[in-house]
Symmetry: C2
Subunit: 334 residues, 2 copies
């Protein structure tokens, strides 16, 4: 097995300058990709329609000489007419349950038409196509941890299906373009990820807990809190993505952290980090909420090498600092 | 439970004349729907692009005063500008593995864009939308027989996924339009169906066996032939469809036959029917071929009443007669 110590896996850090179009560039993951690629000397074209992305994430790079931004809904086409692209990276989609359930049709469309428009653009440019898929394709899994060969357990007609089925479709059409039209494709299945630039209102558990704790509110736990998740810090995800671009592997690759934690333990972590008494408010489990989710990383480590993971403790400390900073700034400016 | 004897379930046979648009009108199921609706006094607009439908199926109705045909690819829009529709029935899609694997991208598109175009048209007309989904959404099932509540076991990146995932997506977007835009939707999951007007080259087992037997060739059986299917004759499917139009039920409904048969027994049936010695040629099982498939009909019978099934013996006899007739006609005309 290749390890980064013995034989570094190539990544965008060591490559010739590339021209990379990123859909969802104003989103959480997309904006970190933009940052990484710009830092490494590449040219980036960001595309977003701000349905869930944030203008502030575009503002970070707006003045960068190698960054261009196109405001567009990629489900209706990608209006790029510039020089030859090396990569089309499709990271556009609402991704948290409150967002995609607010925009079910748009979420379905960005998985189908959006993915196809990206594939067509990549095909026209002879570029690679990189699909951000999700651990949600495993649904509420009966196999634990989840290897990429597991076919999943998704409710096709449930309230989450607008996201889960859209991503399964996106994988299917990506494979179809690879098999029948020779597009050089990549597919990653992203497990729970956290870090700076997550929307405070996106309803994901880590931002929820930290905001609630800082406001002195009880932490909302769904069900009995025994359901588990595994969280990776954004840096590890970005590292995995940039390595995979240089490996000729067209099947899905899990990117995530194998460390698993119950929601109750996570609540305790956040509370002790902030040195507050833990107070929990229990709500009913949302419909079709998965009870456990943890990646098998065997394939990822085999083809990409082991990716260093920020510990949950360190990651949470960074998030708390960042959110405290944001709150103090907003208080000062008000 | 409602039974047809005690309390007839309404169907199109007893309704006021309706204006019904059918996508895939030149296909196997679509053309039988056209026939039934025309016979009952309704107005039918057929739409097909002949990617897998047959011009001969349009010719059957071309001169009918209440039939209009539009040649169009519904994935790119449904160019209907006529009077207010009562129903949009989406039956367009390649449906047999050799066809959809020949047209993977088109199959994915008719499930996504095609379904959405149908939903938009129905929404614009205040019409009902009827989705032809499939037992393939259950994939290679771990639950047997399959109730509608079973979430399935589908390989999202396999060679069959262009069909299976397209149909799962079609169900998801149909539910999304029902939930978020109030479209009056129906979803059926069609199990193996046979009858007149199946394409001789569609690769489905019954037509394969009968054609091979009549040509004196060995019957091709994949694997050891122990995999099972359950076959319904087309008339029962059409009856189920027309009843469901009058029941306000928006979740998927299985339509099929509970009688299960192994492929080897089916080969024996066909051979004995034709009074020939059975000769079998074994091939490897295709990738991701389901080992068993049988509907649970509990929901169907509860809401639609029991639908009479033509026995396999009678159905096969009709198919053999029909194919013999076609062959003799083509011999005479050659």
């Amino acid at each position: 097995m290749t390890t980064p110590e013995s034989q570094p896996v190539p990544s965008t850090a060591t490559s010739q300058p590339l021209r990379i179009l990123i859909t969802g560039s104003a989103g959480f993951v997309g904006s970190h990709l933009v940052e990484r690629f710009l830092n490494e000397g590449h040219t980036v074209i960001g595309v977003d329609n701000y349905i869930s992305g944030q203008v502030s994430n575009t503002d970070l790079f707006r003045d960068h000489p190698r960054f261009t931004f196109i405001e567009a809904d990629v489900s209706h086409g990608i209006p790029y007419t510039g020089d030859k692209l090396d990569w089309v990276m499709h990271f556009a989609s609402p991704a948290s349950p409150p967002h995609y359930q607010q925009f079910p049709v748009e979420t379905l469309m960005v998985g189908a038409q959006g993915t196809q428009n990206g594939l067509e653009l990549a095909h026209a440019h002879g570029a690679g196509f990189f699909l951000a898929s999700t651990s949600e394709v495993y649904g509420d899994p009966h196999v634990h941890p989840q290897p990429e060969t597991y076919w999943g357990n998704v409710n096709p007609i449930g309230v989450r299906s607008c996201y889960d089925e859209a991503k399964r479709y996106a994988e299917a059409i990506t494979m179809a373009y690879h098999r029948s039209r020779g597009v050089n494709t990549r597919i990653i299945r992203i497990f729970n990820t956290y870090g700076p630039r997550m929307r405070p209102d996106d309803g994901r558990v880590i931002t929820n807990f930290v905001h609630q704790a800082l406001r002195g509110e009880p932490l909302t736990v769904y069900g009995d809190g025994s359901q588990t998740r595994s969280f990776q810090y954004i840096d590890s995800l970005i590292e995995g993505i940039t390595r995979l671009m240089f490996v000729e592997y067209h099947y899905p690759v899990n990117l995530g952290n194998e460390s698993e934690i119950t929601m109750l333990d996570l609540a305790n972590c956040v509370s002790s980090l902030l040195n507050i008494g833990v107070e929990i408010k229990n709500f009913d489990l949302p419909i079709d909420d998965p009870t456990q989710r943890k990646p098998s990383l065997a394939i990822s480590e085999k083809i990409l090498g082991k990716i260093e993971q920020t510990s949950l403790d360190d990651g949470l400390k960074r998030i708390v600092c960042m959110i405290e900073h944001e709150i103090s700034e907003s208080v000062e400016s008000s």
